[in-house]
């Protein structure tokens, strides 16, 4: 009810989370949860990376289920050793992206491109619209493809693709 109020009073103060003031654990149902030592929060842990493409073990925000930030983990190594693996595991689930190993076919029809690819999770098919805009170039060699439902696929290294696959996306990169 009073979120307007709260937002205005609260200043964006950063709260750093370390092994001292924050513990992670798994609920009996297998979901990640966190507890702050001062008792200000205990419950499910939702994680968000500030720089998901480059820094996957740094600047990790801990949020509650309304995406309100509880605190930030500056470096994963700041956490207690047992907790690190738990956080890593949850990040893997949230940021899961199939990795494209091979492009089996790529055809353009009516302004959309239709991809059949071999990923680390098996063969997949998807449709991309506005192909140029749907490729997120992270570096000269690494990119993400966004299909029209918002699913992402990663090409870890363009150079590592075989020649046939590369010649299919050459036009778009």
């Amino acid at each position: 009810m009073n979120s307007t109020l709260n937002e205005m009073d609260k200043h964006p103060r950063e709260r750093l989370l370390t092994g001292e003031n924050c513990r992670f654990y798994k609920t009996r149902e297998g979901l990640l949860a966190a507890a702050l030592s001062d008792g200000s929060y205990e419950g499910r842990a939702f994680l968000s990376l500030a720089f998901p493409f480059q820094l996957t073990e740094e600047y990790i925000a801990l949020q509650d289920e309304d995406k309100e930030e509880i605190g930030m983990i500056r470096r994963l190594s700041d956490l207690a050793e047992a907790d690190r693996e738990l956080v890593r595991e949850e990040l893997k689930i949230k940021y899961f992206t199939p990795k494209i190993r091979k492009i089996l076919s790529l055809t353009e029809r009516f302004g959309t491109t239709r991809w059949t690819v071999e990923t680390d999770r098996g063969k997949q098919f998807f449709v991309v619209k506005d192909t140029y805009k749907s490729l997120i170039r992270v570096s000269a060699d690494r990119l993400f493809v966004c299909d029209l439902d918002g699913c992402r696929y990663e090409i870890e290294s363009l150079k590592a693709l075989d020649r046939k696959s590369f010649s299919k996306i050459e036009l778009y990169v």
């Binding site: 009810m1 307007t4 940021y95 899961f96 029209l148 050459e170 036009l171």
Partner: protein
């Protein structure tokens, strides 16, 4: 929802799931390890059962007829899970980067149900909503079926929810037949085109026959049927050539005229379709892209029908005619001519592909280059402010280098591949000369078996008719594909049904009093995310309602619903007791004026812009409205006064000045209902204060909805509504709201008062 295969059904029955009493059935697409699979879930009153399996269609071996048999499915069950829903209060969809996690919530614990990719997220969000409704009312609403349209012919969902195009069923032929109505009006001209095409092709085949075979064999050879009648032959050949040129000319003239008119027709149809379509269509697409669509697509079609198609028809006919004549005269030599043809054709095809690729690459690099330039020029203030000139020059340098490298690649390819192919064509003709010459010599030695000199000359002149258009043929199919694509896009726009439609026998009100009632209105732009949640209020005719709330609370959406840019999802909005959906567009649009936070000035003079809503307004009325809106004074400081041209250079007017122009526009329209959607947000508080007085005069006796986040804007409102997160959280008069010391409004009031004190304005709001 989707039907499930018989075999899967049996598997559920085996597990004791009462599938016939299922509340919902849905299909998702991944296992817990995020491996693609087919996961079927059945929701019953007891719980939610999910069967994870791999469904493989058995390979059908070759046989064409086997297609008619339904394919056999091989099902491999990976996993089965069952979660009791007895204590579950809520089912939630938690967003992940590429998918969602479905979680059931009990009083103090969360149970993960399944993972799915974003392909299913729409349907899952809808399921969560339905489940919430089920918990509230005890009735499970019938699913809306995913929101994604399905192809009516094959039942497959469209790959792109925004475009109703089924790639399986869109046949190129059906596209062309759709074009027929556009062509129908030009029946006569098209008939003329066909006639001239045939005539041109015929003459082009005949002329070499006369000047080659007939000249050498019949006219110049003693004993030939036409021996010595050279003048006659010259006249006939010249006549044939003249006729070919003449019919070609007529063809070009007619085609140019018809295609220009057809392309004009297309453009007009598209543009009027744009006007007809609802606002939602435009927000889901890029406006710039729409403009390119009108122009480029119509242009592509124009060139295709004007240049490509007639040229193709003429050449194809010619090729056919030439082949027939050649085959009748000398079958063996014909083979010699035709054997290298596929190689040449494929060679051109390869060359075209390669060049197209290079040109596409060049196009990309070029657009990156221009975007860097316009980026830097547009953001020059920022570049200078952070003294980043050097880095920008470096960025520019990199792009420029890439471009020149790409230009070099294009030049290299076209300078090597094309000459090589031309050489190959020439070599082919040498072979024909050689073989043909040999036949001629042998014919001279032993009469009867060889060929005549005239036949050889005929073949040589036909060579250029056959090999000449090959590079065009190779390119033609690519052109055809892009033209069909353009055509597809055009019809898509023409055929889109507007979401917001006028009812057939819509009510037209003679006089609008302006009483507005919102009755339990809900609305969402995206499924699963309600922007307006169950909002009800009433504005008596002539009163002013103020709506307060911070960004994203749904204030502007209320204005969009009121003007029927979108239709409500549930509940109703009525004007003078008539549901907006029953009201004619004319009544609605003429009784509501909106001044919004984003003002748009069309290209033209200020006068024309202010008069936009009422073109017949006199100069006097325009000046009076401008005075009321507080824009008269600054307009008069411009050298050209009301004739000042705007729209070309936005820097001429500040944001606040543009807002005042659009207020003047609304005042001039003089509607019974006025919506001020952050109409004064871009002005400083002092200017706002000045305009407020004139606004007060306008809103008196007129139903006004004033939307603002700054409370000072709303000080004259009769009634206030405080919105938060799509809901009305407080309402009442200003006094009533201020009395609630901890209320949202009272708190906002205090905060804004303090802020005003800080900038030196000490008054009550």
């Amino acid at each position: 929802m989707r039907k499930m295969p018989e075999a899967i059904r049996d598997k559920f029955l085996e597990k004791g799931i009462k599938i016939e009493s299922a509340l919902a059935v849905f299909k998702t697409d991944s296992t817990e390890d995020r491996v693609p699979c087919d996961a079927y879930s059945v929701v019953t009153e007891e719980g939610i059962a999910t069967l994870f399996c791999l469904v493989a269609l058995e390979k059908r071996h070759g046989a064409f007829f086997a297609r008619r048999r339904p394919p056999k499915r091989k099902i491999e069950v990976l996993d089965f899970s069952f979660t009791s829903l007895e204590k579950v209060t809520e089912i939630r969809c938690e967003e992940l980067i590429s998918g969602v996690r479905l979680v059931a919530r009990e009083e103090n614990r969360d149970l993960p149900l399944l993972y799915a990719t974003n392909h299913c997220s729409r349907a899952l969000f809808e399921f969560c909503e339905s489940f919430a409704e089920y918990r509230k009312t005890g009735v499970f609403p019938t699913p809306k079926d995913g929101g994604r349209g399905k192809c009516p012919r094959c039942g497959r969902p469209y790959p792109d929810p925004d475009r109703e195009v089924c790639p399986h069923c869109s046949r190129n032929i059906s596209l062309l037949t759709k074009l027929l109505p556009f062509m129908k009006r030009y029946r006569v001209q098209i008939f003329l085109v066909m006639l001239t095409v045939i005539l041109t092709a015929g003459m082009d085949v005949l002329a070499p026959y006369l000047s080659g075979k007939v000249l050498y064999d019949d006219v110049l050879t003693p004993g030939g049927g036409w021996y010595g009648r050279i003048l006659f032959l010259v006249l006939v050949v010249a006549g044939a050539n003249l006729m070919a040129a003449f019919s070609d000319m007529i063809n070009a003239l007619v085609v140019a005229k018809v295609s220009a008119f057809v392309s004009y027709d297309l453009k007009k149809t598209i543009f009027s379709a744009f006007e007809r379509l609802s606002y939602g269509f435009f927000t889901s697409r890029h406006t710039g892209k729409l403009l390119t669509q009108i122009n480029t697509d119509a242009e592509t079609l124009y060139t295709f029908f004007c240049d490509g198609l007639p040229f193709f028809l003429t050449n194809a006919l010619q090729l056919a005619g030439v082949s027939v004549v050649m085959f009748i005269t000398q079958p063996v030599l014909t083979l010699v001519v035709f054997v290298p043809l596929p190689v040449v054709f494929l060679g051109y095809l390869f060359a075209m592909r390669r060049l197209k690729k290079l040109h596409a690459e060049n196009y990309n690099i070029h657009s990156r280059f221009t975007s860097i330039v316009s980026d830097v020029l547009g953001g020059m203030r920022v570049v200078k402010a952070f003294s980043r000139e050097k880095e920008e020059v470096k960025r520019f340098d990199g792009a420029a280098r890439d471009m020149s490298a790409s230009n070099v690649r294009i030049a290299n390819s076209s300078r090597t591949i094309m000459p090589a192919l031309n050489l190959w064509v020439r070599l082919t003709s040498y072979v024909v000369w050689g073989v043909g010459g040999y036949f001629v010599i042998r014919g001279a030695a032993q009469a009867g078996t060889g060929i005549s000199y005239g036949t050889l000359m005929l073949f040589i002149s036909y060579l250029s008719l056959i090999y000449g258009p090959m590079n065009f043929f190779a390119d033609f199919f690519a052109d055809l594909a892009s033209s069909l694509n353009a055509l597809q896009r055009l019809f898509e726009i023409v055929e889109t049904e507007p979401d917001v439609k006028e009812k057939e026998n819509a009510v037209t009100l003679e006089k609008v009093r302006g009483e507005l009632v919102f009755d339990h209105v809900s609305f969402s732009y995206l499924p699963g995310k309600k922007t307006i949640k169950d909002v009800s209020f009433r504005v008596p005719a002539g009163e002013t309602l103020g709506i307060v709330g911070h960004t994203g609370a749904g204030k502007s959406t209320l204005a969009n619903l009121l003007t029927r840019l979108y239709d409500v999802e549930s509940g109703s909005i009525s004007l003078d007791g008539v549901d907006l959906r029953d009201l004619s567009f004319k009544t609605l649009r003429s009784s509501v004026a909106i001044v919004s936070q984003e003002t748009y000035l069309f290209r033209g003079s200020l006068m024309e812009n202010i008069r936009y809503a009422k073109p017949e307004a006199t100069e006097e009325e325009v000046i009076a409205a401008s005075r009321a809106a507080g824009c008269h004074d600054f307009i008069m400081t411009f050298p050209d006064g009301y004739d000042t041209m705007v729209g070309y250079d936005k820097k001429l007017l500040s944001g606040g000045e543009m807002q005042r122009i659009s207020i003047a526009r609304a005042i001039l329209k003089d509607p019974p209902i006025l919506i001020l959607d952050e109409a004064t947000s871009a002005m400083d508080t002092k200017t706002e204060r000045r305009i407020q007085a004139s606004l007060a005069a306008i809103t008196r006796g007129r139903t006004t909805i004033s939307i603002a986040h700054r409370l000072s804007t709303l000080r004259d409102a009769d009634h206030l509504l405080v919105m938060e997160d799509g809901k009305v959280v407080e309402e009442g008069t200003q006094e009533e709201l201020l009395e609630r010391k901890d209320g949202v409004y009272a708190t906002l009031y205090r905060l804004q008062l303090e802020a005003m004190k800080n900038i030196g304005i000490e008054e009550t709001i």
